[in-house]
Symmetry: D2
Subunit: 187 residues, 4 copies
């Protein structure tokens, strides 16, 4: 496991996706050694690092050059650089050129969530899996509705985590912001 604090970070880049959320994504994804993974809106690169350790290849996309730079540093730190293709570009236009996706993780989608999901749907292999990590209420509703309209049977789990700060006088709980994971599997 990787502690959140072990990732190199930047104030200008969201992430990393927190430890317990990465854990749940890894488990739900059932990622295998031969899988091709696309990480759309890779941010700090937390998800790319985790999947690179377990999959055949990760394609990490972010339109923010600072995110690409931070992700590159984290890939190097965790020795998975050669497993990951980094693309500094818009998520939607990039995935149009990618085929043969086993796992697609949408962390950032600008205003293109619905179109991105449509393209992913077309590019996804049979038994392929889609995940959306959503921090906006609007993304949750839009993601569920779009996946339903594409014929999926999506699931949504909302995760509220508090971490104990262990003090001399007792254990104080400090909350992370809630995050939802939407998941769907292609039949």
């Amino acid at each position: 496991m990787i502690n959140d604090d072990d990732f190199i970070k930047s104030c200008d880049v969201p992430g990393p996706t927190k430890e317990n959320i990465r854990a749940i994504l890894l488990y739900k994804s059932m990622v295998q050694k031969e899988d091709i993974v696309v990480d759309i809106g890779c941010g700090t690169g937390g998800i790319s690092v985790e999947f690179a350790k377990r999959a055949k290849k990760v394609i990490a996309i972010d339109k923010n050059p600072e995110a690409i730079s931070i992700t590159r540093q984290n890939l190097k730190k965790f020795n998975v650089s050669e497993k990951v293709q980094l693309i500094e570009d818009d998520g939607l236009s990039t995935i149009k050129n990618i085929d043969n996706i086993d796992i697609a993780i949408v962390g950032g989608s600008g205003n293109d969530l619905e179109e991105i999901l449509e393209v992913i749907h077309n590019k996804l292999n049979p038994n392929g899996r889609i995940f959306i990590t959503a921090i906006l209420l609007d993304t949750k509703v839009q993601g569920i509705n779009k996946l339903k309209s594409l014929g999926y049977n999506p699931k949504l789990v909302e995760i509220n985590i508090s971490n104990g700060r262990i003090l001399d006088r007792g254990v104080m709980m400090i909350s992370e912001n809630p995050i939802a994971i939407i998941s769907a599997k292609k039949r």
Copy 2:
């Protein structure tokens, strides 16, 4: 209602107890115009202000002089100074000298929670109510067990609040840290 941001604050003083927690305390307390309220560990004074608006008298206690100063400013700001007696001293030694309590709210107790509850129990009027606002796991367990041993039938509710930050691109939820309210009523 008072917004959390409307209270005068200090970095060195905890509080104010957040809006929704104050709301729940007010409701559970069934505070009446003739009630005498003790606020032990008044911190920023949020609870003292709210109860002063609705009770006959509030006795606000804190051993931290900065807390007393901030509470004084908030009492003035919300026009309830003459309803509140401010005591800069240790909670345990102070309440030993107070009689005739209708509502006791324990927000800070140092290491004296059990003794404080014992003294409150002896000073509390029939139908008097005790509340503990707990942020430490240890306080929750200790508070429940002590109240049980004093013959009460305590209740505990844990409250996790997230507030929507309404952005152009959607609503992002920001969590407050969890807090528990333990309540008990004297028969």
Copy 3:
């Protein structure tokens, strides 16, 4: 305060809105003795009972006859029948005929949330307050967006409550389902 269990209930009627949510609604609403309150989708009548105790008049609306019947029983049980007008009808068509609203609480709206909010907006007195209690993700997004488009500055708070079940071997926490309160004030 009223315990949730003190309300008369029916399997076919949602509610009552839980204690801590009622507490927060009462606090946020700043309900006064002269206020006219509309409770749209009154369900079990929990909110109508609470506001009837504090306001001048409550108009409770539900299209489900069973809800009207249960609400009537609860109004009687808590001695507030003469403060409440019960209307068994569709929320949208009913409020079109109501003027002079100080506080509107939308608990159930069928598919008419946006239209209901529009009508409320027109009927609401200056300084009037609107509340939506939302259990669906979709209601949260729709409610916020509609209130914004009507010129309000809405707020959203999501509330996760767990109640302690106090056993011999310790305190086990039992969760209520999350609920959001959207609030807005007319200027």
Copy 4:
């Protein structure tokens, strides 16, 4: 991944530990093919099944014969029977006879948590990991304090999960009860 509903269940046996909690435990445990895992209070067997799929051996202990029977059925269903040794006995007396533990998971401990942690501490291999899944407030405090006194640097994470029920009219969130995971690593 395994859905919670795929486990065989019994009303008289707690569990299975929910999907997302299993995911987090698997991730934090860094379970490897050569690991020996002890599951104390195995209940329905959810944790035993997951670790049996990834470890060398699991020793599953429960004093409740019904739990042992249900666990046996689940081991069979998920094809991991030969990886798991089932022991119907008290957790404390059983682990005294086990050596060479890499991962110990304490799900149920009766009143013996402190003693069980002491014995585990003595039996745990270097770099061994201890996990407590706690639903009682008291277990959280006791577990943290005992692990500290044994020289560990324990961590505690509290997990509140809500699952979306996807209805025609929108997504309703249904809460699981909160659960804490305490973790510690032997140096």
